[in-house]
């Protein structure tokens, strides 16, 4: 079998893939305009290929991806649900393709849409105000941390710590550090939740923020949330919701009503904007009233003449990226919210919960649930029984690929031994869920009947398991310029 060629390997000197516009002004030698020291010695070694080469290459490699359009993708905490095509169509309307410095009077439609999105997100989350500025959820977290810090500083306090549960996404501690905070971990209890009394022990006058994912990364609702909010606020700290799992709550419960002061929303999860192989996303951040002045970027507001304009919040923590934000993504989120309405959002959340619990019930005899009680939109099972029989969570994940399914998230959350974190989402049918259960059951049988098949999986994919250890030891991160890759 031959390797899949890279675009550099099909390049042939002299081929062209595109013609620039004809030059219709008087040409001149470059050196008359640019001093020699500014001109590059040699043209960059880009491939030389035809348009058909480009189309074939990228079409061919695209077919090597599993994606929502072809495959069930129950990747826990990532919320891989169907991306309705109508939102794509909305975002691609040519009149939205404006320069970011377009005059206000020429961009009123975009501003009105963004204003509408701010309002809907505020309602959905029970927050006073939203900024649409951050480029992704993790940047939204960083924004939230800076907002918290600015608020404390405005009150004359310089707090130094952020508290985070041991089940949290890795972005939480990384964002807290980026914000200059020391990270304090609070352990989950045997029910997989943050125990209020454990939290009380770590909360002191140095804590600026408690960052919680709810439902948490075990798919469980933090049922002590009202008490948690009280403890956090009594200590003079703020309560942050990592909105990665908001798909379980939308239309059912509002974070603001539970006592959260700051929330970020991953549009590519809850609001079904396509993930794009890892971006672009958007990470709008909502805050309670006392924090609204500190938001980064801009807020869109309606002015007296009934037009829309951008305003920098008075004591803004600043900007996190150029320009307004990922507008193209935000348009998709707006269209999605308008298509569903509150009732549709609620229906979606309920269905996501139904699907996750159905999988939990069907699988719990075989794959030990970490906590055996009703879950929200995802359930965390464990392959610890399978590990005893010789196959680990990773083996099961890889074998699922042979059955034509994308695997669940494995080895996360870190507190669960051999974790399998399954998030079916609302857009999948019972038929698909049943087929997925059948595949997992078949793999479980294979562990006893033909263990090597499981441990050597996958067998039916474009490449087999890759030697990631060697790859990291001697990283090859670019194609050498003068020859084929190796």
């Amino acid at each position: 079998m031959t390797d899949i060629p890279l675009i550099f390997e099909i390049s042939q000197p002299g081929r062209r893939g595109w013609s620039p516009p004809a030059l219709d002004v008087e040409d001149a030698p470059l050196e008359e305009m640019l001093p020699a020291e500014h001109v590059r010695a040699d043209p960059a070694e880009l491939p030389e290929v035809t348009e058909l080469d480009v189309v074939r290459h990228f079409t061919r490699i695209s077919a090597l991806n599993m994606c929502i359009d072809t495959t069930f993708y129950p990747l826990g905490s990532c919320t891989m649900k169907y991306n309705p095509r109508v939102t794509e169509k909305c975002a691609r309307l040519p009149a939205f393709d404006l320069h970011p410095y377009a005059p206000l009077e020429c961009s009123q439609g975009t501003l009105e849409l963004l204003h509408g999105l701010q309002q809907m997100l505020s309602e959905l989350c029970g927050m006073h105000a939203f900024t649409l500025h951050p480029a992704a959820g993790a940047q939204g977290e960083f924004a939230g941390i800076l907002v918290a810090r600015a608020w404390h500083e405005a009150r004359g306090e310089r707090r130094t710590k952020v508290v985070i549960p041991d089940s949290a996404h890795g972005t939480n501690p990384a964002s807290a550090r980026l914000g200059g905070y020391q990270v304090v971990t609070v352990r989950s209890d045997e029910r997989g939740r943050t125990n209020p009394s454990a939290l009380r022990e770590v909360m002191d006058g140095d804590v600026a923020l408690f960052m919680l994912t709810n439902p948490n990364t075990l798919g469980l609702f933090e049922d002590g949330i009202l008490e948690i909010a009280e403890i956090v606020h009594e200590a003079g700290a703020l309560l942050y919701l990592d909105g990665a799992n908001l798909n379980a709550l939308a239309g059912i419960v509002r974070p603001g009503d539970l006592g959260f002061d700051i929330v970020h929303v991953n549009t590519h999860k809850t609001l079904s904007t396509p993930h794009g192989g890892g971006g672009p996303g958007a990470g709008p951040v909502g805050v309670a009233e006392h924090l609204a002045d500190f938001l980064p970027g801009w807020v869109v507001e309606k002015d007296a003449e009934n037009g829309f304009r951008l305003r920098r919040p008075e004591r803004s923590v600043g900007q996190l990226r150029s320009f307004f934000g990922s507008t193209g993504v935000l348009i998709r989120a707006y269209a999605y919210l308008r298509a569903l309405g509150a009732r549709g959002l609620r229906e979606n959340s309920l269905t996501a919960i139904l699907n996750a619990n159905y999988l939990r019930i069907r699988l719990r005899e075989t794959f030990a649930p970490h906590v055996d009680e009703p879950c929200m939109h995802e359930c965390v099972l464990s392959a610890k029984n399978q590990k005893k029989r010789g196959a680990r969570a990773l083996d099961i994940a890889k074998r699922l690929l042979d059955y034509g399914f994308h695997p669940p998230t494995v080895y996360f959350p870190l507190i669960v031994d051999e974790a399998l974190m399954i998030e079916p989402t609302e857009t999948e049918s019972k038929t698909t869920l049943d087929a997925f259960v059948d595949a997992l059951m078949a793999i479980d049988r294979e562990i006893d009947e033909c263990p090597d098949v499981v441990r050597g999986a996958p067998h039916c994919t474009p490449v087999g398991r890759l030697d990631e250890v060697s790859a990291a030891r001697r990283p090859v991160l670019t194609m050498p310029a003068d020859r084929a890759a190796e």
Partner: protein, 446 residues
């Protein structure tokens, strides 16, 4: 509309299997539920939604083709049709971060190709597979330099994009780094001032090329000055300009960053765009974001996988090199397709056309009485005109009379430059477009 997957009967079967009458029975743990959200309008069917969103779009008034001369960090360029066609494939757009490499080779190969293209454009050893945008890439470059050198100050040209400077301040506020801004002279960053700001506390010097005012900087001298005090040198370049300009690597940069928006990415009111970052080899383990590496499977076949993940937030948590999780993979893919389509000679030709067209346009516009070029240094595709009137007034007048957006009023960022208009001319502007701009400016300045 909703997109739920099962029929009512199947839902009943699932409820039966769980042993509950309704899904609500599973929600006992949740206090303070809501039934209604009056602030969210009722759902719309597809046709009504399209009508509604199209009506919003119609409230925008985008300029006709050839009439927008605003650049300032977001540029109108021609893009091959294949870019949109290929990134629209569901196999690219509806997949997640490639955590399972065996079924993500498409995304990974594209990421590896992007990294390779960026190293070739920048003349550096290693690139990552994208950042959020140019501004945050520049800020992350400063953080990288601070980590690598253990120093705490950063020297920044005063003529990088003003929004980038804001982003740098925000990002560096967390770690308490000092930012020293070099005051410009004649639209550029003077070497003497750079040297005056550099000392043993400086982790890196950051300069933009072309700078925000369109002027070309002397990167080689800046790199030497930075290295003389043991500081790193970071160059922020427009990647399309690198089709013709000396690469950051050949000028001595240790880090190159920028925004790939000029490479076939729509303006889209400011986003999504994508940033790039490339570094010299010794810095690779301090890099933020995702890296795609080559690997072999058991049968010896070549494959690609995310690598050096011990730098990343999902492994290293609070000791990670950045908090980046989702980045801008699809936008980086678009830039990759753009660069492959243009190829070695096409990119150079487009970059050359930008230079030629911008210089011809500058000659024509300087001929208007009272109008002169504000700076005398070399430039790529953007230049600043000093006008005999307030640039903001001129822009409004021109737009109302002719529908042309003549450029950026620099008073937006610097009140003392409110008589300065920054004009961008790319390959999308014909001779006729520039003549129309000239006539409109003449009319406005009469």
């Amino acid at each position: 509309m909703d997109w739920t997957g099962s029929s009512p009967e199947e839902r009943q079967q699932m409820l039966g299997a769980i042993g509950v009458d309704s899904v609500e029975a599973l929600l006992a743990a949740i206090p303070r539920r809501v039934e209604e959200l009056p602030g969210i309008p009722a759902g719309l069917d597809e046709a009504s939604l399209l009508r509604h969103v199209a009506a919003l779009a119609e409230r925008n008034h985008p300029p006709a083709p050839g009439k927008c001369f605003i650049g300032a960090g977001a540029y109108e360029h021609a893009a091959p049709a294949v870019v949109e066609a290929l990134i629209s494939r569901g196999e690219f757009s509806t997949t997640y971060t490639p955590y399972q490499p065996e079924v993500s080779q498409g995304t990974l190969i594209a990421g590896f190709e992007f990294q390779t293209l960026i190293t070739r454009l920048t003349g550096l050893d290693v690139a990552n597979s994208s950042m959020y945008d140019g501004a945050s890439a520049a800020a992350e470059a400063a953080l990288l330099a601070i980590r690598y050198t253990g120093r705490s100050a950063v020297v920044v040209s005063g003529v990088i994009h003003p929004e980038w400077l804001c982003v740098l301040r925000t990002y560096l506020s967390g770690v308490g780094a000092q930012i020293r801004v070099v005051a410009p002279e004649n639209g550029r960053t003077p070497l003497g001032q750079i040297q005056a700001c550099l000392d043993e506390d400086v982790a890196c010097l950051l300069i933009q090329q072309p700078n925000f005012l369109g002027q070309l900087e002397d990167l080689r001298a800046a790199a030497e000055a930075a290295h003389a005090v043991g500081s790193l040198f970071a160059a922020a370049s427009n990647p399309l300009a690198l089709g013709i300009l000396a690469s950051p690597g050949e000028c001595g940069a240790d880090i190159a960053v920028g925004d790939v928006q000029p490479l076939g990415i729509p303006l889209s009111f400011g986003g999504p765009y994508a940033g790039y970052m490339a570094v010299r080899e010794p810095l690779v383990r301090q890099m933020p974001g995702r890296l795609v590496g080559m690997a072999r499977d058991a049968q010896g076949r070549r494959g690609f996988t995310l690598t050096l993940q011990t730098r990343e937030q999902h492994i290293r948590r609070e000791r990670a090199t950045s908090n980046i999780c989702t980045n801008q993979a699809l936008v980086a893919l678009a830039a990759t397709i753009y660069l492959c389509s243009l190829g070695k000679h096409g990119l150079r030709e487009v970059a050359r056309q930008n230079v030629v067209r911008a210089h011809r346009a500058a000659q024509r516009l300087q001929g208007i009485p009272g109008v002169r070029l504000a700076f005398d240094g070399p430039y790529f595709n953007e230049f600043v005109l000093r006008l005999p009137r307030k640039a903001g007034e001129v822009c409004n007048h021109v737009r109302e009379r002719s529908g042309i957006w003549p450029g950026l009023d620099l008073g937006r960022f610097w009140p003392e430059m409110s008589d300065c208009l920054m004009v961008c001319v790319t390959e999308t502007k014909t001779r006729g477009d520039v003549e129309a701009l000239r006539a409109a400016l003449e009319d406005a300045l009469k």
